[in-house]
Symmetry: C2
Subunit: 382 residues, 2 copies
């Protein structure tokens, strides 16, 4: 059962997270990824903690199943190898600062003239156009500048960073989408395209609700802690042994919640409608907790689930990795070590397709330059 | 200049956010989207605040440029219309609870037998397989259960929700990717596929770093406020007039930062390496703030930018919408009203492709059932 990208070759100059995340996604869809790394040190994340022995588990999580060749794109011999790879590649990915590829002689215009069907995918902090195209960025800079931090955190306290690197990852996801769209065009005989993804742009694409609020009311939303800004009750509640979540998104669900908790609030004018509940959210929280504090969270999650009210635990990552539903969906996979035994654990492929294999293991991540000889041999004979 | 999905027809049964987000992305790539809504009320988000007049700005932000037809899939007449649309559709999207489409007679197996090239894209809270497939979920439930909340918030305080609806949006993005991959297969003569996206699965796909830390150290990471858990300094700092961000991701950048702030710390053993800086992060923050508190954040952002240190403001959404770089990239677009004048503001398309138009406006979102007559006329003549 071949994947949708079977037979597709990606030449991947990207490092750290956004770009390698995109090529990982495309590899999960069947593409072959040749990772072109800087001689000597390779991808920066090879030296990122945590380590298992001398290998970075972080690097392995994003680069499993890729091949590695170290090329110095300023040396004539390595440039010749790189160009022979370009002859065969469908896609080139890079996440240098804008201008670096041009200085190497591999900018989009030059490559497009020579390889008209090649797709060129770039991801950078601020994009390849605009007054600040040249500036460097990290995840945290775009989370802060792009507005997501301003709506994340506790009410009336300082904003916090989203714990996951969504500045990088969401940009990598948009890059993968752009590459897939460009492949559709090339597959029907069209030309390759340049895809120019900005991490900052990508943060904006997460703000649908916040932009609507800001432009209609004139007031930008602020952090609202663990509650939804405009639905109530849709937040965390204390049980006897800790916090859990109730998300009663409409009046019918609120009625079911009141019945289940034996709280006669559904017809109370202070709580009968969602606007009224939002107005009296702090009082409602106390009233609900006056019931839920009496028993453990597992009791309430079970009771409310049977009543049809969306609810659930707040799981730490260790608990997530043991979650039966998540494991039933093959969302925790083993990355194999060089000895063929499981060495690391990583997230599985969230794109479940009826004709796409969903293996329970992943091939090892490559050592730096590990595949050089095999790649050169393949170039000779192909 | 046609888009990659020009000529592609999406029959879109989805409502609220995850599914409509996916069809919006595909519409931005050129697809025609016919939104099939429940007669009477239509998509729930038509009644979600904020409103402008009687229209929901939230609905408009996600459904601009789509066509609307209201169909009762339990009535014979409307089913006949729906099946004539299926004859012409390339893609069907739905986000009902698992089993609903089967009960309507439109489950994947039945549709695949009758329309073998049709792509069937589903997004649900927990996916169509596993012990909890039938359970309902909202964004907050999967943010909490999927682990992202457990690493977001202030240190030693309660976890917070990510202010953006990443439980829905990230799932919608994976659905769009799956559809694009399936289109590649159909375009080369292959069969349609079912794509089964789970909001909970999709949260896992954001946890690369946290999963690596948990499995290697045995300790799940906890919230670390506004700082990165394993890079220092990579966090917010107080200036005279408020907070800003410094992200010095390696020793070289830390050296530049020390020079720019005239702080002689680069060779201090407490701060010379990233592990040492992480160990002494609180002290380092105080030392940096002992300098930065003296002047406003704009001064420091300008100074550090010139020194090559990644830095930036924490912008609220009103500031984001005025950001020159964001506007130079056409990331703030106008949604037109029925009178042709700009009515709403929304995020632009983050997928910038060299042969994809990037219009500065979007067509209006449809009124419920607005396009019924035109769609029926089109069915007659095509």
């Amino acid at each position: 059962m071949p994947g949708p990208l079977d037979g597709t070759l990606i030449l991947d100059l990207t490092h750290v997270l956004a770009g390698p995340y995109a090529s990982m996604t495309l590899a999960d869809l069947g593409a072959r990824v040749i990772k072109v790394e800087r001689p000597g040190t390779g991808d920066d994340t090879r030296s990122f903690p945590p380590f298992k022995g001398r290998e970075s588990a972080y690097f392995a999580a994003i680069n499993h199943g890729k091949e590695s060749i170290a090329l110095d794109l300023k040396s004539a011999g390595d440039r010749a190898i790189f160009e022979r790879l370009l002859d065969r590649a469908d896609i080139l990915l890079e996440n240098y600062r804008p201008g670096v590829m041009e200085r190497l002689g591999y900018g989009w215009e030059a490559l497009h003239a020579r390889y008209p069907r090649l797709i060129y995918g770039a991801v950078s902090g601020f994009g390849h156009t605009g007054p600040e195209a040249e500036r460097p960025a990290y995840d945290m800079v775009v989370q802060a500048r792009g507005g997501v931090m301003s709506i994340t955190g506790e009410r009336d306290r300082e904003p916090v960073r989203v714990g996951a690197s969504i500045g990088d990852i969401v940009a990598g996801m948009f890059l993968a989408q752009g590459v897939l769209a460009a492949l559709l065009v090339v597959q029907r005989g069209g030309a390759g395209q340049k895809i120019d993804i900005s991490m900052l742009d990508s943060q904006l694409a997460l703000l649908e609700h916040a932009i609507a609020i800001t432009t209609v009311t004139g007031e930008p939303p602020r952090p609202s802690g663990a509650r939804h800004p405009s639905i109530t009750p849709f937040e965390t509640f204390h049980a006897e042994d800790g916090l859990f979540v109730i998300a009663a998104g409409n009046d019918a669900l609120f009625g079911k919640l009141c019945d289940a908790l034996q709280l006669p609030l559904a017809d109370d004018p202070r709580f009968a409608t969602n606007p009224a509940r939002c107005q009296n959210a702090r009082l409602l929280k106390r009233l609900i907790e006056s019931v839920t504090l009496d028993r453990p969270k597992a009791y309430w999650i079970d009771l409310l689930t049977r009543a049809g009210v969306p609810t659930g635990p707040i799981q730490n990552v260790a608990e997530v990795l043991e979650d039966p539903q998540i494991n039933a969906r093959n969302m925790v996979v083993d990355i194999l070590g060089r000895d063929g035994a499981p060495a690391y654990v990583a997230a599985g492929n969230p794109i479940k397709m009826s004709a796409l294999p969903d293996p329970v293991t992943r091939a090892p991540a490559p050592a730096l330059d590990e595949d050089r000889a095999a790649i050169l041999a393949w170039l000779e004979k192909s």
